[in-house]
Point group: C2
Chain length 342, copies 2
C-alpha cells in the first residue's frame, strides 16, 4: 500500500509499505476512505515533537473494514469511524470511559503502528475501538464523520474539562479546527459569552457562525476589558504553548478553570503558585474520543451538528505534502485526504 512515512521534520513522503495483515484474533484491517492532517502532526512536521525516522503518521480516519481476525464481530464491508487511539474496551480505564489510558491501547501514526495517512490500517481490538456507521449512510457525510475521529470529540472534551455551565463566560484560545469547534461545543453547553482569541482573523467569521460572541486577534483587546471585573469563568487552551497558557491565566477569574486540549509539547512547566493563590483548577487532557463518538454520532448523522466548516477540499495522498504546507502556513484550515483518489 501507499502510506506517509516520516523521514525528518518537513520531510514526509508517500512510499510503498507492506499491506497491513491481521495479526491478532481481534484485529481488523480498515481501508482508509478519508483522513486529514491534525495540528499535532504539524508538531512533527516542524520538528517540535519527538518522532522516529521511518514511522508512519496520521491518526484520524474513517474507512471500510476489509478483513478481520476470527474474534471480530464487525463484518468486512462495514463503514467505521476510528478514534485516534485504539483500546481494549475491557480494562478499568476503558470501563471508566478513559480509553486513552488503556494499558493495551496505542495511537495511530506512532512507531510500530500504521498511520491514518495511508491506504489501510491494522486496527487492534477492532470491536472495542471502531464505531460502525449505520448501513446506507450517505457518503457525502464522510467529512463530518471524519471529524469524530478527533477534533469534534476534542472540542467536547475541552468543554467538559472546562466545566462550561449555562451563562458562563468562556475564553477559547486558538482558532485552529479544535478551537473553532470548541466554540460550537461551548454554544451547545449554553455558555453566555464566548470569546475567541486567535491570530487568524479570516477564521473569525466561522467562529462567529459557530457561536462566538466576540473574537480577537490577540489578547490585548480583550484582557483590559476583563480586568475591569469581567474575567472569564473558564478558559480553554486549544494550543498548549506558554503563550496560550499565559493568556488563559490572565483571562480567567479567581476560582475559575483552565482546560487544556492543545498538546503541551513545548510547555515544559507551569508554576503552581498563581493557581494556588487564585484557586484556579487546571485540567489538561488528551481526549478519550471513543467515549464521545457514540454520543455525538446521532447528532452528526441527523445534521444537527455540523463540524465540516473547518475542512478544506479533499486532495489525493500525493497531495499530502501540499496539505502539510497549507496547514503550516495557515493557507488552509484542515485539508482532507482521500488516499484512494488518484
Amino acid at each position: 500500500m501507499k502510506a506517509a512515512v516520516v523521514h525528518a521534520p518537513g520531510d514526509i513522503r508517500i512510499e510503498d509499505r507492506p499491506d497491513p495483515q491481521v495479526r491478532a484474533r481481534t484485529d481488523a484491517i480498515v481501508r482508509v476512505d478519508l483522513t486529514c492532517v491534525c495540528g499535532t502532526d504539524l508538531w512533527i512536521w516542524r520538528g517540535q515533537a519527538p518522532y522516529e525516522a521511518g514511522q508512519s503518521i496520521g491518526h484520524e480516519f474513517v474507512g471500510t473494514i476489509t478483513d478481520t481476525g476470527p474474534d471480530v464481530r464487525l463484518r468486512p464491508g462495514t463503514r467505521v469511524i476510528a478514534p485516534f487511539a485504539w483500546s481494549d474496551g475491557t480494562c478499568n480505564a476503558c470501563r471508566r470511559g478513559l480509553h486513552t489510558s488503556c494499558g493495551n491501547g496505542g495511537f495511530w501514526g506512532t512507531p510500530g503502528a500504521d498511520g491514518a495517512q495511508g491506504e489501510a490500517v491494522r486496527v487492534p481490538y477492532a470491536d472495542a475501538t471502531l464505531v460502525a456507521v449505520p448501513d446506507g449512510t450517505d457518503t457525502a457525510i464522510l467529512p463530518a464523520l471524519l471529524a469524530l475521529s478527533d477534533i469534534l470529540p476534542t472540542a467536547y472534551h475541552a468543554v467538559t474539562l472546562a466545566r462550561v455551565r449555562p451563562r458562563d463566560h468562556v475564553i477559547i484560545v486558538g482558532d485552529g479546527p479544535v478551537g473553532l469547534l470548541t466554540v460550537q461545543a461551548a454554544r451547545r453547553a449554553q455558555a453566555g459569552r464566548i470569546s475567541l482569541i486567535g491570530h487568524h482573523p479570516e477564521r473569525h467569521a466561522l467562529a462567529r457562525h459557530y457561536g462566538a460572541t466576540d473574537t480577537h486577534t490577540d489578547d490585548q483587546p480583550v484582557l483590559p476589558d476583563m480586568d475591569s471585573g469581567s474575567l472569564a469563568d473558564t478558559a480553554i487552551d486549544c494550543v498548549g504553548t506558554a503563550s496560550s497558557y499565559r493568556t488563559c491565566l490572565a483571562a480567567v477569574r479567581d476560582g475559575g478553570r483552565i482546560a487544556m486540549v492543545g498538546v503541551p509539547y513545548t510547555l515544559r512547566s507551569i508554576s503552581p503558585e498563581p493557581l494556588f493563590n487564585r484557586n484556579i483548577t487546571f485540567r489538561p487532557g488528551v481526549t478519550p474520543a471513543r467515549t464521545y463518538i457514540p454520543r455525538l454520532l446521532p447528532h452528526v448523522l441527523a445534521g444537527s451538528l455540523d463540524p465540516t466548516g473547518v475542512f478544506d477540499t479533499p486532495v489525493a495522498l500525493s497531495g499530502l505534502s501540499t496539505a502539510y504546507h497549507a496547514m503550516a502556513t495557515r493557507t488552509g484550515v484542515k485539508p482532507l485526504i482521500n488516499p484512494h483518489r488518484t
Copy 2:
C-alpha cells in the same frame, strides 16, 4: 502590646509594639485569646518563604472584640473567630465565597498587618471578616474554635478540591495538622479507603482515630500495591513540595484528581505533560476559610466535629520560640499560645 516580630529565619522575638488602633470606620480591635503556629509560619522560620525584617507573624486566632469603628455592628466583648485572611465581604470574589481573592483583603502576619502571635490585632472589615461565637460558649472549647481559623477549613477545602466522593480511595500526603484533619474530613465525605502517607509514625494512631484505613511512613509500601490496579481516585497534597507532589502523581489513577493545600513555596514548577496524558485534574488552592467557618461552627459547638487532637498544651507568648522549635523538630504537632498568660 507584646507581639512576635520576625527578625530573620530562626529569629522571631517577642517585643513591645504599639497597641493597634481603629483606623477605618469598619475596623475592630480584637484581643487575642488563643493563637498557634502554622506550618506556613515554619517556612519563614526556616528561611524558605519571603518575609520582611520587622514584620509580624501568625494568622490563626480566636479573640474578644475590645474596640470598634463606628460602622461595625459587632459589639465589644463579643468572642470571635478570625479566618486567616480579612476580606470586605461585598466584592465579586467574596460573594462567590472566595474571600482569599478579595481585592481589599489581606493576610495577618504580613508586612503592614498585625500578626496573630501577639496580644491584639486590628481587623479590617470586621463585620465581614469575623465570625461571632454564640454568647455563653464554654471557654474550654476555645482550641476547637481556633482550629476554625485555618486548619479545619483547610482540611474541608482539601476534600472539596479533591472532589472526594463516597467509596473513593483517597491518598493524603502529609501528617501535619492539616493532613490529619483532612483524614477526618475525607471520612465525613464517606471515602471508602483513606491512605495517609507521612514521615511521623507517632502521629498515625491519631490518623487512624480520625478514619485512616492505612498509614505509611513513606510512599514505598503503598505505591507497589497501587500499581496493581488500585491507584487512588484522588490525592491530596498537604505539604506542597516536589516530593509530596510526585507521590500524589504516582498514587492517583488516570482521570483522577490531585488537590494541593500545602503552600507550594518550594515547588516552583510542575510539568503539564503527565497531567495531560493521564487526564488528571490539578486543583491547588488557598482556603477561603471565611466560607467554611459558618458551615463547620455548629458541628464544632455541638462536639460532633472535634479537631483538637492535633493541638499541644498551651504556652505563654514568652514560650513562642520554644513552640517554633517544637514544630520545626516535630516534637510537637501544633502548639497553642495564650498571649495573655504569663
